[in-house]
């Protein structure tokens, strides 16, 4: 017997974290004393722009090669802060995009920043540009720009893949100061090796809260921290629970089988009394395993439903078209 539908555990945890975030956003609106630890990569933003201003060279920003999602939106939000400082010091910027949607959004955001700073004339066609949506064509285009224009600072923030090291090493070779951060774990080591400052993991998402100190953003960051504590607590509880359970003797054992459902094979399981020599529980018999591998029984797939009424025959749909009945 399974008393808890553990298939819904993920949804429950997600909703709990959502509640943490919303609660802390509401709480932070009336507070100004919330602390964010120092993040060196973000402190270096102003230094990098200052250096570019002194050298009279542009600042390069790349929001990765991903589409318009939370990652690129966060990158563009950070770049809007960089662009604001750059606009105040008349430092030219180059924001290169590999996705047309990101380009459109970035162009609007940067244009607004220049207008708010009262210098809309400083934004030209090269300020925000679409280079290519092909990974290595984009890499070649941006690399050429880094080397030709000898950019003084580069900000590589977003979703990067194999092209990350091409950018970072090219900028390193001309002595540009580099701040980088990627949500791709596979690329973070490359950035650490080649860049001056790296935003690791969720520091990337903490950037806008760190720079602007808006209550909504700081509260959201606090909610994330609560979420982390929940995860850490769950890991410790799970570790202890598993350690205890693995030393218990078996009375029930999990039996897996497959049944044909919806024209395919589905895995089903049941707990049956254990008969045999006493032994300790194995990994698939613990509560933690069952939480992450819910038990779907054959009876769950047997649902009584009304048949569809017969319809008049219609012309066959074109190939690829899916008819909704």
């Amino acid at each position: 017997m399974q008393y808890l539908d553990s298939g819904k555990l993920g949804i429950l945890v997600t909703l709990l974290i959502v509640a943490f975030i919303l609660f802390n956003i509401a709480r932070a609106k009336n507070r100004t004393d919330l602390f964010i630890r120092r993040i060196p990569g973000l402190n270096a933003l102003d230094d990098a722009i200052g250096r570019a201003t002194e050298m009279g060279r542009p600042v390069l920003m790349v929001p990765g090669i991903g589409g318009l999602d939370a990652v690129s939106v966060q990158a563009v939000t950070i770049f809007s802060n960089v662009a604001r400082t750059a606009a105040q010091f008349s430092t030219p910027i180059r924001l290169c995009c590999a996705d047309a949607a990101v380009y459109t959004v970035a162009q609007e955001v940067i244009r607004d920043v220049y207008q708010q700073e009262g210098v809309p004339e400083r934004m030209d066609a090269q300020t925000v540009q679409f280079v290519s949506d092909r990974q290595f064509a984009f890499a070649a285009g941006v690399q050429g720009m880094i080397l030709r224009e000898k950019v003084a600072a580069t900000f590589l923030l977003g979703a990067f893949y194999a092209e990350s090291l091409i950018f970072a090493e090219s900028a390193n070779s001309i002595g540009a100061i580099q701040v980088a951060g990627s949500t791709q774990n596979t690329q973070t080591p490359f950035f650490i090796a080649a860049c001056d400052y790296v935003l690791i993991g969720d520091e990337f998402y903490a950037a806008s809260a760190y720079i602007t100190r808006q209550p909504v953003l700081v509260g959201s960051l606090l909610g994330q921290d609560w979420g982390k504590m929940l995860i850490i607590g769950s890991i410790f509880a799970g570790m202890l629970m598993n350690s205890v359970e693995r030393n218990q003797m078996v009375t029930m054992t999990r039996q897996e089988s497959t049944v044909e459902v919806r024209g395919g094979q589905e895995s089903v399981a049941e707990m049956v009394p254990y008969e045999g020599e006493p032994r300790k529980k194995n990994a698939t018999e613990t509560t933690i395993y069952r939480l992450f591998h819910p038990m779907y029984t054959e009876s769950m797939y047997q649902i009584e439903r009304q048949p569809k009424p017969e319809e008049n025959p219609e012309p066959a749909p074109a190939e690829g078209g899916e008819v909704t009945l």
Binding site: A70, C97, Q129, S132, A137, A140, R148, D202, T324
Partner: protein, 303 residues
């Protein structure tokens, strides 16, 4: 009736009907007019539009994630009750909603091309440094569009039956397209990818220089993992350990075998660290998405 579900339309049922081009052109013009109208909306009215559309789009995907799907619903069965009906409605609406995103993206691609043309035409007309490369880029782009489109039309419509995988059936257009795409573009991509090897080498050299405690740890760990992948070295080292322990599996010295050390580094150091980072990134993405969905984010893209 599911209004959002993808229905076969008169032009998908009859793809040879020339009238569909008229409809496509009409929809394209309507889309352009809509984009133009949206770009003329006063600045103060933009935020409610952006926030409203984002909320509706987000609501669909949130419901899609949270709402239970009907289990084992067969094609000839009707869903039971409100919950199953709504679940099925959300399920069948996904192609339609994704289609909207694709259409919007297609329009935005036009804006991307416009940016590219503007940057390079400006370079050419002002004879800026390296303007010749801009000429080359525009010529290549025009050539690829023309040849690629002609190739697609021939393969899909004009002489669909005559063209096969056999290169002797290809027309001049197909051959030129193949040279441009397979012969040039793919190889140039591969060339760009291959230079990463040299960059990895130079970056690794800098990272592994022993200048601090962290760099020393990094260098030692990397050395163990690299050596564990070299068969001859592993065999020699592990053989020495076996000689010392007399091949006794219970001896603690077995932990010093290269594959054991490398496995410990990977499973006990690398994997937990990466998973911790992934938890942080996941939470950050969730918080960011929530702020965008509910319009709580000020500044940046929603301003």
């Amino acid at each position: 009736m599911n209004l959002l579900a993808y229905q076969p339309t008169w032009w998908t049922l009859n793809p040879q009907d020339n009238g569909r081009y008229g409809v496509l052109v009409g929809v394209f013009i309507a889309g352009m007019v809509l984009f133009f109208a949206l770009s003329k909306v006063p600045h103060s009215a933009r935020r409610p539009i952006v926030v409203g559309v984002t909320f509706l789009a987000g609501l669909f995907w949130v419901l899609r994630y949270l709402w239970p799907e009907p289990i084992a619903l067969r094609e000839n069965e009707l869903p039971n009750g409100f919950v199953e009906k709504t679940g099925q409605w959300l399920q069948t609406s996904v192609p339609f909603v994704s289609g909207i995103a694709q259409v919007v993206t297609s329009f935005l691609l036009g804006l991307g091309m416009f940016s590219l043309l503007r940057v390079h035409f400006t370079k050419i007309t002002r004879k800026q440094k390296d303007w010749q490369f801009s000429v080359l880029l525009l010529v290549c782009m025009a050539l690829m569009i023309a040849v690629g489109y002609a190739d697609w039309l021939q393969r899909e419509f004009w002489i669909k039956e005559k063209i096969t995988d056999d290169t002797t059936t290809w027309t001049n257009v197909n051959v030129v397209f193949n040279i441009l795409f397979e012969g040039l573009l793919q190889n140039m991509d591969a060339a760009m990818f291959s230079i990463i090897a040299f960059y990895i080498f130079s970056a690794a050299y800098r990272a592994f220089r022993i200048r601090s405690m962290e760099a020393t740890l990094l260098m030692s760990s990397a050395l163990i993992v690299m050596l564990s992948l070299m068969g001859a070295v592993t065999s020699g080292w592990n053989g020495t350990i076996d000689n010392m322990t007399g091949s006794n599996p219970a001896n603690l010295l077995n932990n010093l075998k290269l594959n054991e050390l490398a496995g410990w580094l990977r499973n006990m150091v690398q994997v937990p660290a990466l998973q911790a980072l992934e938890f942080g990134v996941g939470l950050g993405t969730l918080a960011m998405a929530l702020r965008l969905w509910l319009g709580l984010e000020r500044g940046g893209v929603t301003e």
